[in-house]
């Protein structure tokens, strides 16, 4: 158990360090790189939870997504320019504080009500996953049978996101 705890502390510390550096870096491209570091370490934490599929997906999807973020940084910011010169929207600060507090209380609620360290609950014990043939097999047979509706809703969500992004991008040119 001890080496796992050590790895967890390592991943958690580096992920936190990266997250803080994302915020305090003056250079947005450095922020982008620190974000990659953070997500790579979160992938490591997923591995510690035996969620190997999620870990690989975390790395694969976010490395692509962060690259796109980098492109937008290059496209929208001049070097030496402060990323956010001033809070231009008057409502931005109060809304940000409200959303931040809401998120914090949600997190607190989850941590307080769940039994952290109490072991796996429900039918998906490590033994059951091993019987199914592994992480992906267990996930696949659950996702495409029991959780069919959320899966199809996800595709509607992707459709909305695509149409929205293209609409915004192509209308204002």
């Amino acid at each position: 158990m001890l080496p796992l705890t050590l790895f967890f502390l390592l991943f958690a510390a580096v992920a936190l360090f990266g997250a803080v550096m994302v915020l305090v870096s003056r250079n947005p491209v450095h922020s982008v790189l620190f974000m990659l570091l953070t997500f790579a370490n979160v992938a490591g934490m997923f591995l510690l939870l035996n969620a190997e599929f999620i870990a690989a997906v975390q790395l694969l999807v976010y490395s692509g997504a962060i690259l796109v973020l980098f492109l937008f940084v290059v496209m929208l910011l001049q070097r030496g320019e402060r990323p956010l010169p001033a809070l231009t929207q008057p409502l931005q600060a109060p809304v940000a504080i409200f959303v931040g507090l809401a998120l914090l209380s949600e997190l607190a609620l989850v941590v307080l009500t769940s039994n952290v360290g109490g072991g796996t609950r429900g039918a998906d014990t490590p033994e059951a996953i091993a019987r199914a043939g592994g992480n992906i097999q267990a996930l696949g047979s659950q996702l495409y049978t029991t959780w069919l509706l959320p899966f199809e809703i996800a595709s509607v969500l992707l459709l909305v996101a695509a149409v929205g992004a293209i609409y915004l991008a192509k209308e204002d040119i």
């Binding site: 796992l4 591995l47 510690l48 035996n50 190997e52 599929f53 997906v57 694969l60 999807v61 692509g64 997504a65 690259l67 796109v68 492109l71 937008f72 290059v74 496209m75 929208l76 910011l77 001049q78 070097r79 992906i136 097999q137 996930l139 696949g140 047979s141 996702l143 495409y144 049978t145 069919l148 899966f151 199809e152 996800a154 595709s155 509607v156 992707l158 459709l159 996101a161 695509a162 149409v163 992004a165 293209i166 609409y167 991008a169 192509k170």
Partner: protein
């Protein structure tokens, strides 16, 4: 989890190799910088302005679509692995999933999001 520690070990060794060889080359190679040598290359003339400036990326709509299709591909992997087990049921639901995505694709194509500039 127990299958992953060799990758961690490999990672440490590879990083070690990369850093030692870079360090070794620093020791072995001469290091005599001067102003002209450190100038960036610009076809033989003195560089004009900064290179890190705002740059119009024409393919940014494609970059956004890429993120969506990347997520779509992620849903396909576990589906492909368990396809033998779920059979026709899985076929129909993935058909629905892909048709919805193709709708987004067709919209992108018609709006010219797949063309550059």
């Amino acid at each position: 989890m127990s299958n992953y520690w060799p990758i961690a070990l490999f990672f440490v060794i590879v990083i070690g190799f990369a850093l030692t060889s870079l360090g070794l080359s620093r020791l072995l190679a001469p290091n005599r910088p001067n102003r002209v040598k450190n100038e960036t290359y610009e076809s033989g003339i003195a560089p004009v302005g900064e290179a890190q400036q705002r740059f119009d990326i024409r393919y940014y709509t494609i970059a956004m679509l890429f993120v969506l299709f990347d997520i779509e591909a992620v849903f396909l992997y576990p589906w492909a692995v368990v396809y033998d087990v779920i059979g026709i049921y899985g076929f129909v639901e993935m058909l629905l999933f892909i048709v919805l995505l193709l709708a987004a694709y067709a919209y992108a194509w018609r709006k010219g999001a797949l063309d550059l500039g």
